[in-house]
Amino acid sequence: MTRHQALHLHVPEPTGRPGRETDFSYLRLSRAGKIRRPPVDTQALATRDLAYGLVRVLDDEGRALGPWASQIDPQLLRRGLAAMMKTRIFDARMLIAQRQKKMSFYMQCLGEEAIAIAHALALAPGDMCFPTYRQQGLLLVREDVDMVEMICQLLSNGRDPLKGRQLPVMYSYKRAGFFSISGNLATQFIQAVGWAMASAIKGDTRIASGWIGDGATAEADFDTALTFAHVYRAPVILNVVNNQWAISTFQGIAGGEGTTFAARGVGCGIASLRVDGNDFLAVHAASQWAAERARSNFGPTLIEWVTYRAGPHSSSDDPGKYRPADDWAHFPLGDPIARLKQHLIAIGAWSEKENEEAQRELEAQVAAAQKEAESHGTLADGHLRSAAEMFQDVYKELPEHLRRQRQELGV
């Protein structure tokens, strides 16, 4: 009879912790330009190599290389750069406003700006994103979403379009293709698939784009979304933003150790890509590929965006307690803003001087928007929406029992 040693439980552990530098070799990077670009009607199983590789366009010198480097208008790239810079400025100012107690809570997308912004620029009007709380770039890249109104939502003030019902950053902009953010994780992923199914049922041409973080892929709604998307060949892009951290839990605890999140898609019969999320050109090219595939009725694409959550999870979090303080500085995929700026300068479509001017102008824009929003009140000064509004919209019509309860509150 074979004698076995005692079993032991494996609990994944990140290579880096406070005081111990991270060994990022677990990311298994590919060189820029080295990953093939299949036709958009490719079979899902034929994307297996793409789910384990890493699509990158920009190299360390800022050159655009390989089959995913498309002919992209420098004007669009400048717009993307400006939107990323604006998002970073916006986040920094809002975080300070939170520290000043003008709002209860804030969540930045520091280091992840390229993903939402380049993706948004690859979608068409009428498409619908089902975001998480770290895709504010989807809104900030648009010219038809008023920054003042967004800040009013954050401040929960008298002009908050969500009437003070939702935590800051849980925006809802149907007209801008931005589904209401729940706050519960992963629920939106299957909803995106349902929305895409509806578009197919109606014979429309619109597609959906669902978003989830690496941590929330462990929820059942993630697997359910993949099953439904595959079964009904839904016109949907399934984005997994792998920023390595879910609050204090590294991506190995969500199931990323020794495999990739993109590989889950292949297992479910979905074409899947693993892409450098800090490479604006790669994000745009992969998003365009997936959007074209969905809109051509070839079905869903799962894209794992490899990036790094450079800031804390939220204004309530202190990452210094669980990861090296300078971790982002060592992250091999760098800073998406610096990389796109480097590329634009390399192709002669941007300069340091223009960059400085843009930075100043965007800072002034955000500051002016904040000032105007604060003139309508902040959570701190008590200029809130009326408590009577608490009872509205629970049902389409106010039912009798809520009318009585509103009366009981005396509003």
């Binding site: 019902r165 209401s180 519960n184 909803q191 698939v193 349902g194 099953t227 439904f228 629970v394």
Partner: protein, 352 residues
């Protein structure tokens, strides 16, 4: 109030046909699939096969695979997809094969469908109808017999409905599909084929022999949040719904009590006016449901009656319910609150 008073479009010329509850539910979906191209029907086994209880039989053939189709065995997926479809502008009517199986969909029902309108200030809504067969009496054991209505009535933003007969089932289902709020539509499966009075050893009486089995063929609605007085009476008010409606009727007859039996039909939001008027008249009240007692919807009913009718009450309010145990398989009829237990409750209320 009489059910026909609630019908908004039933005309004198509307042809009535004897229907089982299954046929009435199918007819409601048929009518709505025909009238509104945004209505879609899906769930486990509902497509080609037409549902394990046959409620969607023939609908896929009539309306095509893109409007009536099978879903993977994933209640969370079914409801989550329905919420997304609602955001698009469709009206999804989904079937959860047994109410006992809704639990994996809880997050999508409670945190998503129920609150989407509220959290987005009407930017997005979830006008979905979630059908689920409920209740026991078919030897379904603890996973095919539950009555989870109180889990839904505790959630703000949901409407919870439970018809007791074919006429109401069709009118309420059409009203639910047309409603812009999410509706939980509970179907007492023991009533699918006939009005059940609780005497499980007696032969089944088919709906074709009951007045409420006569169902108009076309469109009509039974208003949500409206109760019906199944039997007017003067001595005692019975508040009940679903499977227990005809049990209560039989128990009153057997006990010789002139009970006013109110079928709530809509459990929440509910028709408080009808309830209060009746209890103020009779001065006595018994609440009857099949679900477990503790924190059951009966507790809410007792509290409401106490709040609104305290000075008219002649006796303590009685509750007759299922026991606080899982629904047993072989001991089903010891669990089920049959006519004897219900009549005993009536007598206690009369003596109090």
């Amino acid at each position: 109030m009489d059910v026909t008073e609630q019908s908004s479009e039933t005309t004198a010329s509307a042809r009535c046909t004897p229907m089982t509850m299954i046929q009435a539910l199918r007819s409601a979906m048929d009518v709505m699939l025909e009238r509104d191209s945004n209505v879609v029907v899906f769930g486990q086994d509902v497509g080609y096969f037409g549902g394990v209880f046959r409620c969607t039989e023939g609908l896929q053939k009539k309306y095509g695979q893109s409007r009536v189709f099978d879903a993977p065995i994933s209640e969370g997926g079914i409801v989550g997809a329905a919420v997304g479809m609602g955001a698009y502008g469709l009206r999804a009517v989904v079937e959860i094969q047994f109410a006992d199986y809704f639990y994996p969909a809880s997050d999508q029902i409670v945190s998503e469908a129920a609150r989407l309108r509220y959290r987005s200030v009407g930017d997005f809504t979830a006008p979905i109808t979630i059908r689920m067969p409920c209740g026991g009496g078919i030897y379904g054991g603890q996973t095919h017999s539950q009555s989870p209505e109180a889990m839904f009535t505790h959630v703000c933003g949901l409407r919870t409905v439970m018809p007791s007969n074919p006429y109401d089932a069709k009118g309420l289902l059409i009203a639910a599909i047309e409603c812009d709020d999410p509706v939980i539509f509970l179907e007492p499966k023991r009533l699918y084929n006939g009005p059940f009075d609780g005497h499980h050893d007696s032969p089944v009486i088919p709906w074709s022999q009951h007045r409420l089995g006569a169902v108009p063929e076309g469109y009509y609605t039974v208003a949500l949040a409206s109760a019906s007085v199944l039997r007017p009476g003067s001595e005692l008010t019975v508040l009940t719904y679903g499977t227990m409606v005809f049990v209560a009727e039989a128990a009153a007859a057997e006990a010789g009590i002139d009970a006013e039996i109110i079928d709530l039909r809509s459990i929440w939001p509910l028709d408080l006016e009808t309830i209060v008027a009746s209890v103020r008249k009779t001065g006595r009240c018994v609440v009857v449901h099949e679900a477990t007692r503790t924190s059951g919807f009966g507790a809410e009913l007792v509290a409401l009656v106490q709040e609104h009718c305290f000075y008219q009450l002649e006796a303590p309010i009685e509750r007759v319910t299922g026991w606080d145990t899982p629904y047993p398989h072989a001991q089903e009829w010891a669990y089920f609150p049959g006519p004897e237990r219900v009549a005993a409750g009536f007598k206690r209320a009369m003596q109090g």
